[in-house]
Assembly symmetry: none
Homo-oligomer: 219 residues x 4
DNA sequence: TATGAATGAGTTTTCATTCAT
DNA sequence: AATGAATGAAAACTCATTCAT
């Protein structure tokens, strides 16, 4: 029993395990962002996290799983940010939509690592052919968010703030636009065309919301 | 003695070579769409195209090159569609914007393969670190399109149709939104939530354009 | 539970690893000798060594590295043989030169594998263009040997045994001649012309040394 | 029959063929020197020589053959140089040996391309396993040269100029030494240690010949 | 639990040679 | 005689995953 000093400490308690697991997740997130999914090997992750290759497989089924778990986490963060932004009573629907957009932007700005792996990176679809149980969960999460927005739009229509549009269409439109703005922002940012991301996003949102306001003319 | 279109024919004339080249490009496009970039091997492409491995390298420098060439082609198609859509004299700026969006939608609907490899797929960034000569061209192409839109917006502002907004911001906003809509459409389409893509896209655009029209109120 | 020397054993201890590493080095040396550098593939080495392809890369960076390591080892053996041969006190310079030659011959005779890869084989220069860190070390080793000989010649001149010739020229001459003799011996040996290599080498050396002795007439 | 202007001219006459053949040989020699044997592809040779890939195989059986033919040519040149150097009547044996060495040096200095492919470059032996008919001829040539030297030594011994040594041993010794000197010269030349190759070679030869002169003492 | 050596299928790419034209 | 498109068997190297310890 004299190995204590040099050997790596085993995760005896459940919290030790959690710490190790977290470390692996964080390291993977960082590397997926920097090197891409394909460009990140398990060995890179484990080495940087200070564990052995084999240990990785004690915590995760494989490379795909850890990637999907990170996406899951990201979606949860985003969902919570959006919920928080909408939780103040007495907001108008427009203000709520604005808050949702703001939350998405915060997610993009404050959790770029999570944002980027879901939107920018993409995996050779082959990897996902089989293990799709979690993929289902991921889609569910995305849907939850959309449903939240839809409910806000519905409320806005109900109280006369907004035009009576098809709520699901308007929801996807809104979300798609926000998404598109961020993707473009990200893309152009790298090309140094956009510097003030913040403004860029607000301006886009502004135009969009005006389009939803009542008293608009048809094309 | 007509060789017709059967395989295993030696490409003697330059047009034979063009046909073979096209076959390879088309096959690659198909596979990139189905399996992703990383998930598609040279062998898959050549086997499906009915040529040997070596032949591939007779026509292309490597996997990266064929991928970039396909992107280039896609961008060209899109650019031409947009130009065509705008080429009618006597259109209002609003109508022109509408036409641009319509062209983008047509691109998405009629050339889904091209659309998908540029927007949906993404490559392990590593592969593109070095060979960036063509990458430069690709960025230029994307820019050309944005500049086109910007000029339309500017014209709309000049003739009083549109609010005097920052044209570059509005351009990126518009494009980003269109992009985002299509991405979402694509994503949701797979989940079978959206069936009438067409309507969905039009509705989104409608909302957007109203936001740009004059006489809008500020948030 | 002694694992003995059977294959397919996991190298747990560091000495196990050393054994496996050695096995790979020895196998490579053998194959380089028999098939040449280009004619030897990694697969040949690993198959003969009883490990998988991947294992090779666990121990060496690549084919070039293992080749250079073998050259390095060979040079070290030669250097040690020469040092040993000269280490007896009270030898005349002539005797020392003779001992050096003898050591070189021993190297040729007892470590033919090492001898051959450095002198006979040659690599497609392309492979060595870049990775030259070790190549530098290899050149240094070769130089060390030449400097050793030079010092012996200098001593011989200083004590009047030898003609006062340019020591560096004489050194390279001596070494080149030894080298040439062995190369010819090797070449002819394959053609079965020379059987008594030993004598052949001694005779050559004899002639050479007489040329260096004092009291010689000029041509 | 209107293709005359643009098409490449066919080798109608036998001399046309010879010219094309020579061009291929010369180009190959140049490239083998610069890129090494493995580093030179048939395509490189044909492109530089201005013919098509297929044409190469009209003139040569393959890559190995052209390499061996070049070696053959080189040996012939060397043999003729040596013959020429010895052809003057009334030379002493010592002078003849000196002349042979000079001829070898001239070969090295004036036909470096030929010299280098035979001594410095080497081929993965695998390539030579089968096609050894020509290899036999090459060995014969080398032998011819050695026999020539042997006859000179014999004459020198017969007329009392030289010690009565074993002529074959002395021959191989002499030749091996010359060879070794040039190899070292070449090697060190690249490392910039030797600048005056000429002197270096003469000095080595000088030492050697003195060793063969009569009235030498035994070791 | 934890390790990390071992695996081997899989990938991109090269090139001597062939053969239809 | 000449072409050059086509071939396909290598080759070097990678890496997710396994499993003996």
């Amino acid at each position: 029993m004299t190995t204590a000093t040099t050997m790596k400490i085993r995760a005896r308690s459940s919290s030790d395990k959690q710490i190790k697991r977290r470390k692996l997740l964080d390291t993977a997130l960082d590397l997926f962002n920097r090197q891409g999914y394909q460009g990140t090997s398990i060995e890179m992750i484990t080495e940087k996290a200070g564990v052995s290759t084999g240990t990785f497989y004690l915590y995760f089924k494989g490379k795909v799983e850890i990637y999907q778990l990170l996406n899951f986490e990201g979606n949860e963060i985003l969902f919570r940010l959006i919920e928080d932004a909408m939780s103040w009573p007495g907001m108008t629907s427009i203000a709520r939509l604005s808050a949702i957009a703001g939350a998405y932007y915060r997610y993009y700005a404050e959790y770029p690592g999570y944002y980027k792996i879901s939107s920018i990176l993409n995996i050779g679809q082959k990897d996902f052919r089989r293990k799709s149980e979690m993929q289902g969960q991921l889609n569910q999460q995305a849907n939850q968010i959309l449903r939240l927005i839809e409910s806000v739009l519905q409320a806005g229509i109900d109280n006369g703030e907004l035009e009576p549009v098809d709520t699901w269409q308007a929801t996807t439109a809104l979300w798609g636009m926000l998404d598109g703005l961020l993707i473009l922002a990200e893309r152009e940012h790298q090309n140094l065309i956009i510097d003030a991301c913040d403004d860029f996003f607000k301006q886009g949102l502004n135009i969009l919301i005006h389009g939803l306001l009542k008293r608009q003319d048809a094309v």
